[in-house]
C-alpha cells in the first residue's frame, strides 16, 4: 500500500518535480515582485509560490514539506502578510494622510510613495496567499485527525 502511493519512489515524477520546482517558485516570486509593472500581482504570485510548495508536498510527502517549511513559519506568514497590508495603511495614517493613502509615505514625491505603498501591499498579499494556500493543502492532505503519542509534527 505504502509502496504504491509514495510518489517520490517514481524516478520520473521525482526528477521532473526537482527540475521544475525552482523555476515555479522563481516565477512566483517574479510575479509578486513585478506586480506593479506587469500582469499579475501579489495574489497570483502567491498562488504560484504555493503551487511550488504543494508540488513538493505531493511528490515527496507532506511530512517532508513540513520539515523544510516549518508549520510555525507558515502560521506566522499568514498573519504577517495581512499585517503588512494593514501596517502600510497605518503608516500612511501616521504620516498624516488617510488610511491607505500611500502618497503620504513619501510626502515630497507622492508618485514614489504611491509606488512604494502599492508594492508593500502586494508583498503582503503575496505572503498571506502563499502561506494560506500551502496551509490549506497541508490540512486537507491529513488522513487522521489526531497525532498519536511518539509522532512528531503539528
Amino acid at each position: 500500500m505504502t509502496k504504491q502511493t509514495q510518489m517520490s519512489e517514481q524516478t520520473l515524477v521525482r526528477m521532473v518535480a526537482k527540475m521544475t520546482i525552482p523555476f515555479i517558485s522563481m516565477l512566483g516570486l517574479y510575479i509578486i515582485l513585478h506586480g506593479e509593472l506587469g500582469p499579475g500581482g501579489g495574489f497570483q504570485g502567491g498562488v504560484v509560490v504555493a503551487a511550488a510548495l504543494i508540488l513538493y508536498g505531493l511528490v515527496f510527502g507532506a511530512d517532508e514539506l513540513r520539515r523544510h517549511i516549518p508549520v510555525a513559519l507558515l502560521d506566522a506568514c499568514m498573519a504577517l502578510g495581512a499585517l503588512l497590508y494593514a501596517g502600510t495603511g497605518l503608516a500612511s495614517l501616521l504620516a498624516g494622510g488617510n488610511f491607505l493613502d500611500y502618497g503620504m509615505l513619501m510626502p515630497h514625491s507622492a508618485g514614489d510613495g504611491e509606488a512604494l505603498g502599492m508594492t508593500l501591499v502586494e508583498y503582503g498579499v503575496g505572503i498571506t496567499v502563499s502561506s494560506v494556500m500551502t496551509t490549506i493543502y497541508l490540512m486537507i492532505s491529513e488522513r487522521r485527525t489526531t497525532l498519536r503519542p511518539g509522532e512528531e509534527g503539528l
Binding site: M1, E36, P39, G89, P107, T146, P149, L154
Partner: protein
C-alpha cells in the same frame, strides 16, 4: 481582424461549454476534476483573448492549479466515483434557466464588446494609463497641508480622490482605488487559513479533550504509521 478574434472566441466558448457539460456528465470524479482544470485553462485562454491578462493569470493559477490540487486531495478522502442520481432534476433546471435568463437580460444594458465609447474607455482609465491622475501641478508636492481633502478654499485636487503611479493599471485599481476592498480580501484569505487551522489541525492525543486511541483498533493500512515506522 475582428472576425478572427470573434472566430477564436466562439471556438473557445464552444469548447468551454462542452467541457462544462462533460464535468457534470462524467461519473468518475477524477475525470471531473481534471476536466474542471481544463475548463479553467480554456477560460484563461478566453481572458487572454480579451486582453485581460491579470484575470487570465488568476484563472490559470487558482482555477487550473490550486483548486485542481485541492479537489484531488479531497478525492483521496472521499472516493472516486459519484453516486448515480436521477438524470434531470426539473426544479433545479428551472432555477438555473431562470437565473441564466436574468443574467443574459442584465448584459443587454452593457456596452457592446470592444465599443470604443464604452465608459471603461472614456472615464478615468485613459488618465490612469497615461498616469497623469494626481500629477497635476497643484498635487505634485503633497505635504501635510495638501492632502486629498478639500483645502481651506474648498477646492479639491483635480480628480485625485486616489492616485495611481504604477504602470500596471490593474494593480493601481486593486491596490489604490480599491485598497480597502483588497485589504479585506486579504483578511478573508487569512480568516480562511485560520479556520482551516482551527478545524483541521491535528492535535496530540492525550491533550485536553483529545482521547487516546486504542492501538488494537488502528487500521493497518495507515500511511502515517508506515512513514513513522520507517
Amino acid at each position: 481582424m475582428l472576425e478572427e478574434i470573434l472566430t477564436l472566441d466562439v471556438f473557445l466558448l464552444i469548447l468551454v461549454a462542452a467541457t462544462a457539460v462533460a464535468v457534470i456528465q462524467v461519473d468518475c470524479l477524477f475525470s471531473a476534476t481534471i476536466l474542471a482544470g481544463i475548463y479553467s485553462l480554456l477560460m484563461a485562454v478566453v481572458w487572454t483573448n480579451m486582453h485581460a491578462l491579470d484575470v487570465a493569470f488568476t484563472e490559470a493559477s487558482v482555477g487550473a492549479g490550486i483548486s485542481t490540487v485541492l479537489l484531488l486531495g479531497a478525492l483521496v478522502l472521499c472516493g472516486r466515483f459519484a453516486k448515480r442520481e436521477q438524470p434531470v432534476h426539473w426544479p433545479g433546471l428551472l432555477v438555473c434557466t431562470l437565473t441564466g435568463a436574468m443574467l443574459i437580460y442584465g448584459t443587454l444594458d452593457m456596452p457592446k464588446f470592444g465599443d470604443p465609447d464604452a465608459p471603461i474607455h472614456t472615464l478615468r482609465v485613459p488618465g490612469m494609463i497615461r498616469q497623469d491622475i494626481g500629477k497635476h501641478h497643484t498635487a505634485a508636492p503633497r505635504t501635510q497641508q495638501a492632502k486629498h481633502e478639500a483645502d481651506a478654499s474648498g477646492k479639491h485636487h483635480p480628480q485625485d480622490d486616489y492616485n495611481g503611479h504604477v504602470p500596471n493599471t490593474v494593480t493601481t485599481l486593486l491596490a489604490a482605488y480599491r485598497g480597502y476592498d483588497t485589504m479585506f480580501e486579504t483578511t478573508v484569505i487569512f480568516v480562511a487559513g485560520v479556520s482551516m487551522l482551527l478545524l483541521l489541525r491535528r492535535r496530540r492525543e492525550g491533550e485536553l479533550g483529545v482521547p487516546v486511541s486504542n492501538p488494537s483498533h488502528r487500521k493497518p493500512d495507515d500511511l502515517a504509521d508506515g512513514r513513522s515506522a520507517s
